[in-house]
């Protein structure tokens, strides 16, 4: 537990707070809405919690330019509402937008299921202001959509989990909200999963989101014996209409009897799927993310399920057919059974799959799980960056890859 909580009200106060903590040798953990706070390992030292939610609000919104500059503590919901007034959006697609912040989604390296269509959050960032551990306030990029002026520092801060700098202001390019959005949910009867996915892949009109789900009932829809599909289409009314028609017949041909179309509420269904990625089952579950190629995503997803079952844990999965991610939530009927089994599963996952990382786990077992697995080959360079940006190890020491 931290000794102190600070909630600076603006960028200057944030800079002063970090400079002073750094000077005193205190370890700082940055907080937004807390929705992704369980990402990564538990920090090895933790003296001050710096709550960034007061560094909030829109700096400038140039809706005619399709650009916006927001303070990092702005909630995703507040950003979305401001943009929607001008028919625009920034598809960050992170969990719990009413609480989650822009800075948190970016620093957490969040990846949503629409990124195949619209790009990763880091691809939507055109500039930023960051505060380094020593209080240096540094800008990069700007408010133009093409920019090769100096290093692209925003890419370095995005996904750094608050271990290099505190994002204070983020500039985005915005997109026009598509005219139509429609979700399709289909329960998959026994033996239809592979064919159904192959048929979806073969469609001319690509879904914006294509998830093959097992479990995760809070998302909505009912599993068949082979789980269910959750697809989202976005585009003009004409294309979305044709796409869902073609989908229905393709799924029918794959032996899937019924496809439910959700018109109003498609966005809510998508958000529920995103929220589910970090939603624990009362102290008896851990959720992993495994990024990989789309072509073998189904096989990897099945493998994850088998390994979990071998450890006597239930495994719910969301397989992102378009981007290749697997989200796996392993759980046991009760806390004690979970705690007894998860450590071995965690080891088995990391032994078998290099790139699997922990998104969420209960405090009781967090220290016994490996949040990151084997570090990437470029770890030495990453360590050197940390050392150069935060030589005193002020920012969330130990939370990141390889003990950074």
């Amino acid at each position: 537990m931290p000794q102190r909580v600070a909630a600076p009200g603006d960028v200057d106060a944030l800079a002063a707070e970090l400079r002073e903590s750094d000077g005193r040798g205190e370890a700082v953990v940055l907080f937004g809405g807390g929705t992704l706070q369980r990402l990564g390992a538990a920090p090895s030292r933790f003296d001050v919690a710096v709550d960034l939610r007061r560094v909030a609000g829109i700096v400038t919104y140039e809706h005619h330019d399709l650009t916006i500059s927001v303070r990092a503590g702005t909630t995703l919901g507040a950003l979305a509402r401001a943009l929607a007034r001008h028919g625009q959006f920034v598809p960050l697609d992170a969990p719990f937008p009413a609480r989650g912040t822009v800075g948190g989604a970016l620093a957490g390296g969040w990846l949503g299921p629409r990124r195949g269509a619209y790009g990763r959050p880091r691809d939507l960032v055109i500039g930023s202001t960051a505060v380094l551990a020593d209080g240096t306030v540094a800008k990069a990029g700007g408010m133009v959509v093409k920019n090769v002026s100096g290093y692209d520092m925003s890419k370095l801060y995005a996904g750094s989990l608050g271990t290099l700098a505190a994002l204070a202001v983020v500039n985005f390019k915005t997109l026009p909200i598509p005219q139509a959005q429609r979700a399709a949910i289909a329960a998959l009867p026994d033996g239809t999963r592979e064919r159904a996915i192959a048929h979806v892949r073969g469609l001319e009109m690509e879904p914006t989101v294509a998830l093959a789900v097992r479990g995760f009932h809070e998302v909505g829809g009912t599993d068949g014996s082979d789980g269910r599909l959750l697809l989202v289409y976005e585009g003009s009314a004409a294309t979305v209409d044709r796409a869902t028609r073609e989908l229905r017949s393709a799924l029918g041909a794959a032996g899937v009897p019924a496809t439910t179309i959700v018109d109003r509420g498609a966005g809510d269904a998508l958000q529920r799927a995103i929220d589910a990625c970090v939603t624990p089952l009362a102290e008896r579950s851990a959720t992993y993310r495994w990024l990989g190629l789309p072509s073998d995503a189904e096989a990897r997803c099945a493998g994850v399920g088998r390994v979990a079952r071998r450890h006597d844990l239930t495994c719910e999965t969301m397989c992102d057919v378009r981007n290749g991610d697997i989200i796996a939530r392993a759980s046991a009927p009760d806390r004690d059974a979970f705690a007894a089994r998860i450590v071995l599963l965690d080891e088995a996952f990391h032994d078998a799959y290099g790139r699997i990382v922990l998104l969420s786990s209960p405090d009781a077992v967090r220290d016994r799980l490996d949040a990151w697995g084997p570090p990437p080959a470029s770890l030495a360079t990453m360590r050197a960056l940390k050392e150069r940006f935060d030589p005193r190890g002020t920012l969330a020491p130990g939370r990141f890859v390889g003990g950074i």
Binding site: T136, A138, K146, V148, D152, A377, T381, M382
Partner: protein, 482 residues
Amino acid sequence: MEPGTAARDLAERLVRALGADAVKTEPEDLAVYAYDAYTEGRSPSAAVIPSDVREVSATVRIAKACGAPIVARGAGTGLCGGAVPTQGGVVISFARMNRILELDIANRRARVQPGLINLDLSRAAEPLGCFYAPDPSSQKISTIGGNVGTNAGGPHCLSYGTTTNHVLGLEFVDKDGEVVRTSIDDAGYDLTGTLVGSEGTLGVITAIDVRLLKLPAEVRVCVAAFGDVEAASAAVSAIIGAGIVPTALEIIDALIVAAVEAHYHAGFPTDAGAVLLVEIAGAADDMDANESALSRIAREHGALSWRTAREAREREALWASRKGAAGAIGRLAPNYYIQDACVPRSKLPNALHAVEAIARDHDLAVGNVFHAGDGNLHPLLLFDRRDRRQAEAVVAAGIDILTACIELGGTISGEHGIGFEKRETLPYVFSAADLATMARVRDVFNPAQHFNPDKIFPSGASCGEVRPPRGGSGIAAGDAWL
């Protein structure tokens, strides 16, 4: 060691490691590696043409041991001297590392060597239903490695994003000659995103994983004529402001249209003050509605005509002449100077107005051909190098244009980078603290500044090593693409 001896020692060690066939040391061979599309240049001590990553690694180790700087070179189409070996040393050419290593259509990705010519990737992927989106106008000759170095754009990055949005991972040789692999899917810091656009100052990239996109079902290219370039740019601002993002929005003014038409005969209207080139792509269902929305906005902003190219051959002719525009300028003046700057898109009319006023103040003719949808300007100042007044005016006007763009909320490079030319201009955009923070990254990857010295960061000191043998300063000389 005497300088001559040091160079001989360097050359001998490189020959031992790579073979005589892969090392150039004769002055007449080295002249090729002295320049890019920026005028000033300097010959390196040696140029190497490695065949694989091991040879790149060996080159880096030897150069480091000899204290020689290392400059990686693509096709040399950059405008800002980014590939110029300003302190001599070793230039690494990727002419022999120019292959597609893997084309993975199922996962829409490819692994390529840095010397691969940009267009060759789309040519290989198109029969399989995919394409590589970044398409700088130089794509017939520029390399993907060079594109990664400058985070190159091109007309189609309006809707698809610039090079950085399409790079999935890299292999690079670091300061110690070690081979490092990165992926945007790796846990940890985004080294991939940090290296893209770093202009060869952080390491030598030896392989690139890129994203491919599915070819759109239908493509249309439309040409609208306007009375002048400001009206055309107001139409562009209105299109973006209405929330419509076509795949490309390019403006060509009358001066350039005349030169281009004389050369390519693609059918651009030669009686208009400016031409707007609009490309839309996507599902066939949307084409008519999108085109009519665009043509309505264009007409509301004074479009005099609207023509649609539906046939592939017609579209390709329009694009070929657009992308070859700079090459046709030779008809207009003995020399030209191209600026690359970017402004918020709603400020385009102001920026164009400023460019015209600046050219007038300096008594220079100016042409404009640019990526309007992105706010990325490319004013071409025409002049005669032999006229000393004009040569000086061009340099001053270039700086005035950059200053005007910064004042409009823009920046000093949209797609060519800072290189050598603009490094003293970078402090107009960033504070000392901003630049010092960027320098922390350089400190990690390139502490001794062996990789591409004198680039991006302002010198504060002399840069007397660079000789301007072709005369003039900061003036693009040969063929250029923009």
